[in-house]
């Protein structure tokens, strides 16, 4: 039997595929519907201490080789999110829940983590790396190793739930940040958040996104993500959720070969619809069958061997 299961912190994922944070939002019924298409885990959209409307539209656009977004951390606030996660738990059957959150300040990270833990998700994802709120919050914490370690450590102190730290590719050396997260006590790392970019409409001569800058996702960033995951895998021992441009089964396999234990899928929903997860699962199984692999362990980190 060919198996797609994978494990992080002793928790069993029936598929390595994870819905990435921010894609499809946070409504319990919608996330449950997506989960049924064959996900190992769903990640809820990052929530903060208080509700946020987010940026003015356009917030998500599809360009030639990917998407660009500056949604601006739209969320109902942690208290409402707790209720949504409780509802989601009742609707899911064996799909892991990862609750993503952010803080405007270091103190807020601690406050939100403490409260969000009351919803008892399987994991907390510490979003240190949203690129789209720099005007308000300053540069993302994940661009600084000391901040990354400090926030990770302080979040660990207020929760018993395993934490995943989400890293930014917009750094000089992602290995240093990954080690800082590991030293801070992170149970896993998810990478990458989106590299930043910009599109200008040449007809009007104006930026297309209202926020001007946005995070790039989709096929365009896959090689960046693969490189980052490879580098992180070579420098930490904790598991990695590889995210960035995975659209087909072969992309997921590539991510696992770079060292990922699980694989985030987000923008592929645009290219292949809401049932993309089931399709990618089938493609991974077909690949494994054709190459006589029995489980994902046999593939993992193959790119690291000489």
């Amino acid at each position: 039997m060919v198996s797609l299961t994978t494990k992080i912190c002793g928790k069993i994922f029936k598929s390595p595929l994870i819905l990435t944070s921010g894609v499809l939002g946070t409504e319990a019924e919608l996330l449950a519907r997506v989960a049924r298409s064959g996900l190992g885990a769903v990640t809820t959209k990052s929530c903060g201490l208080v509700p946020r409307v987010g940026h003015e539209n356009p917030t998500v656009l599809a360009w030639e080789n990917g998407l660009i977004n500056a949604v601006g951390l739209t969320n109902p606030g942690v208290d409402q999110e707790i209720e949504e996660i409780k509802r989601l738990k009742k609707l899911l059957d064996g799909t892991i829940i990862i609750a993503s959150f952010f803080g405007a300040t270091k103190k807020e990270f601690i406050q939100v983590a403490g409260r969000l833990s009351l919803a008892c998700p399987d994991f907390l994802e510490v979003n240190l790396s949203c690129p789209n709120t720099e005007c308000e919050f300053g540069r993302a914490f994940a661009t600084d190793a000391k901040d990354t370690q400090e926030i990770t450590r302080s979040v660990k102190k207020v929760t018993k739930i395993p934490i995943i730290v989400k890293l930014s590719p917009n750094v000089t050396d992602i290995k240093i940040i990954a080690r800082a997260a590991e030293d801070g006590g992170a149970n896993a790392i998810s990478a990458i958040n989106t590299p930043t970019g910009m599109l200008i409409d040449v007809e009007s001569g104006k930026p297309m996104l209202t926020n001007k800058f946005g995070g790039i996702s989709g096929p365009a960033i896959r090689p960046i993500a693969i490189r980052c995951v490879y580098e992180i895998a070579s420098s930490v021992k904790i598991p990695i959720i590889g995210i960035g441009g995975v659209t087909y089964g072969r992309d997921a396999v590539e991510m696992i070969m770079a060292g990922a234990t699980a694989v985030g899928v987000g923008s592929a929903v645009y290219y292949r619809g809401i049932r993309v997860f089931g399709k990618i699962n089938q493609e991974i199984l077909r690949f494994m069958g054709a190459h006589h692999f029995k489980n994902l362990e046999e593939i993992r980190s193959s790119a690291h061997e000489n």
Binding site: G25, N57, T59, T210, Y271
Partner: protein
């Protein structure tokens, strides 16, 4: 790979529908189905969804309710706007021969497109609901299509005194209808669905939620597990 970026179009004609509603007619022909919507962008200001009122050429109707719609109302014939779309896989499609359309407020816009696209051989009645006489929309437009129009106003200043679903109830009590097509505020839709369930009549309703990306990614429009921008905006069942 498939892109979804705003494209500029020229406004050819602006029609004053009432004291706060204008229809913008472009020069550009697009392919669209009744119920679909476009996202209209004014650079550096905002981007908002509007129902397609016609596709050859593209036209949409705007009520002045805020900063963005005010900016649209300030435009003149010959000015440019940007749009992407049309969006939505759930669209209005005629079922049977005897049709009853019901639009509340700005909800009449996509129903006009439905009526215009599918005239020959179909029997249609249009119910238009509005707060008062001066907010009434599209009555003449439907008349010009030779469709029987019934009006309900909340203050009784024109037609039936009360809400549009009251007229729906009356008509369904009197004759057999194959399908009801509705667009308007949520409370009106809830009432329409309740009445249709009682009379065991098929219905198609266009839901309104917060639409942002339009491409089924951001989840802003999610409603009871549906992505309104992709699965809808028109649905044949409700609640899901």
């Amino acid at each position: 790979m498939k892109t979804n970026l705003p494209k500029p179009i020229i406004i050819n004609r602006i029609i004053n529908e009432n004291y706060k509603v204008k229809t913008f007619v472009s020069k550009t022909e697009i392919k669209s189905k009744p119920g679909q919507f476009i996202l209209v962008w004014l650079p550096r200001l905002a981007e908002r969804p509007f129902a397609v009122v016609d596709d050859s050429p593209l036209a949409f109707t705007v009520a002045k309710v805020g900063k963005f719609t005010q900016a649209l109302h300030n435009l003149k014939e010959g000015d440019r706007i940007w749009f992407r779309g049309p969006f939505g896989k759930g669209v209005f499609k005629l079922e049977g021969e005897e049709h009853l359309l019901i639009g509340g407020g700005y909800g009449v816009a996509p129903l006009y497109f439905l009526a215009k696209k599918s005239l020959k051989g179909h029997k249609m009645t249009m119910i238009i609901g509005a707060k008062s006489k001066n907010e009434l929309l599209f009555e003449e437009k439907f008349n010009r299509l030779r469709i029987k129009v019934q009006v309900a106003t909340e203050d009784g200043s024109r037609g039936e005194n009360g809400l549009a679903p009251n007229l729906l109830y009356k008509i369904l009590s009197e004759k057999k209808v194959d399908c009801v097509y509705a667009c308007g505020p949520m409370p009106m839709l809830a009432k329409v669905v309740e009445i249709c369930h009682n009379f065991k009549v098929n219905f198609q309703i266009s839901l309104e939620t917060i639409i942002k990306c339009g491409i089924g990614v951001c989840g802003s429009c999610s409603y009871q597990g549906k992505l309104v921008c992709q699965d809808g905006p028109v649905f044949r069942h409700w609640p899901f």
